[in-house]
């Protein structure tokens, strides 16, 4: 099975660190991280990861805006994006799902099962 390369984009240090730990130690994936949408765009363009896990609420450029910007770039448009949100209300869920992302996962996630959730969403199981 190929080693997956994941880009995590989240402005929260602890979320980035726990998600990276989870994906690296539980699944053995290679993880890059970015603390903003703009930095995430740069890293995604340079590394072309297999998938992107991205927070919804970030300052300056939030997750949905970053996703829309990625869709404008041919090299990034086909990379599956999973949004990560602490918003649990139905209206928010429908709004995020309507963006065209691959999946929406919810915070707080279980570090021991995050990779499994992502694999299922991405069809990697």
């Amino acid at each position: 099975m190929p080693i997956r390369r994941i880009l995590i984009i989240d402005d929260e240090d602890d979320i980035r660190e726990v998600a990276a730990l989870s994906l690296e130690s539980v699944a053995g994936w290679q993880v890059s991280t970015a603390s903003s949408g703009a930095e995430g765009m740069r890293i995604a363009t340079a590394e072309l990861p297999d998938a992107i896990l991205m927070d919804v609420m970030m300052p300056a450029m939030d997750g949905p805006t970053t996703f829309r910007e990625m869709q404008k770039l041919p090299e990034l448009a086909s990379i599956p994006v999973i949004l990560l949100t602490a918003k649990v209300q139905g209206v928010d869920q429908r709004r995020f799902a309507g963006l065209g992302v691959t999946a929406v996962l919810f915070k707080p996630f279980d570090p021991l099962t995050l990779a499994e959730q992502m694999s299922e969403a991405l069809g990697w199981s």
Binding site: M1, V26, A27, K107, P108
Partner: protein, 106 residues
């Protein structure tokens, strides 16, 4: 999907990350306490309310992943309360902040 490490090793690393996050967590809890105190005296400004809302949102998204799901629930209650259009119920806010703190080994 292969598992490369045992869950116990991951839990130990998580505990290390939790310890590292404690200073920031304490600051965030202190801000929520300040917001609740300001609400009690009728001096909760829009800026402090917005800041407390953002902090509650961050806590709701992070505490559960460290093994404190009750903390997430109280943080979520606080966030929804603070971002609602209705006036703040100072007694409820103070109770929820205290309840949140009681769930955490700070």
């Amino acid at each position: 999907m292969p598992s490369t490490k045992d869950p116990e090793a991951t839990r130990k690393l998580l505990a290390t990350l939790w310890e590292r996050s404690l200073p920031v967590l304490r600051e965030r809890c202190a801000l929520l306490q300040s917001a609740a105190a300001a609400a009690q005296t009728g001096t909760l400004t829009q800026d402090l309310r917005a800041e407390a809302t953002a902090i509650a949102h961050k806590l709701s998204g992070s505490l559960g992943m460290f093994g404190y799901p009750e903390g997430t629930e109280f943080a979520r209650r606080i966030e929804e309360h603070l971002e609602s259009a209705t006036p703040i119920d100072a007694t409820r806010l103070t109770h929820d902040v205290a309840a949140l703190l009681a769930t955490l080994p700070l």
